[in-house]
Symmetry: C2
Subunit: 104 residues, 2 copies
DNA sequence: ATTACGTTTCAATTAAATTTGATGCAAGTT
DNA sequence: AACTTGCATCAAATTTAATTGAAACGTAAT
């Protein structure tokens, strides 16, 4: 599921605006993890983690997959790329603006 | 002023997690603007805008410069690049992870 | 079936972010 | 000096987000 609506930009950034959620995605960067593994590593309650995972999932940044009674979460990279490209648009103007200031 | 502390990541993303602030930075992408110009274009009260500008400034995403009684805001691009590069780290793992899944 | 386990969901509470309107202040004007 | 303009700041009110603990759900084991 990749989100590309206009809201998805600040929905995505909102999901990244919290220390716990940043921790989660950095852990998931290496490999997919089930909820209980994340719970152990982060040292937070399951329902708290579940809330943050839901936030990340609704922003399209993570996916989940069930295997038996475990649910494994992993990154949804296209959404990261989308946000990265949004920021890259600003860098594109960096060159334009600085070259314009030379002609002043 | 470029912020590079560990907090700066989710501080920056938090600043980008609001529709008004996204509007502001997109307006500033073209050129620097004073507060009253932003106010007019966005159609919000001045003190509301001031709050959001402060949020953006504390996140290091914008700078301000005084000229007479006007205060001009502009983008602080290095901070955008920092956030972009943070996200790019995740894409770097994209290739690694997908190539690993091929060997399954 | 029954029980245990991993997870999500809900309702209640707490905490944090945002909005609003008033006030203050510095720079320019008259 | 008094006045206006452009902006920031403050405190109060409102809105939104996060935390908590209990309950509910599905899955697997006994």
């Amino acid at each position: 599921m990749q989100v590309t609506s206009p809201d998805s930009v600040f929905l995505g950034f909102h999901a990244l605006s919290d220390a716990i959620r940043i921790n989660v995605i950095e852990l998931l960067r290496d490999r997919e993890l089930c909820v209980c593994e994340l719970c152990d590593v982060l040292g937070i309650t399951q329902s708290k983690l579940s809330f943050h995972l839901k936030t990340l999932k609704e922003a399209g940044l993570v996916r989940s997959r069930q295997e038996g009674r475990w649910i494994y979460y992993s990154l949804n990279l296209p959404q990261f790329v989308m946000l990265e490209q949004y920021l890259a648009e600003f860098r594109r103007f960096s060159a334009i603006m600085s070259s314009r200031s030379c002609s002043d």
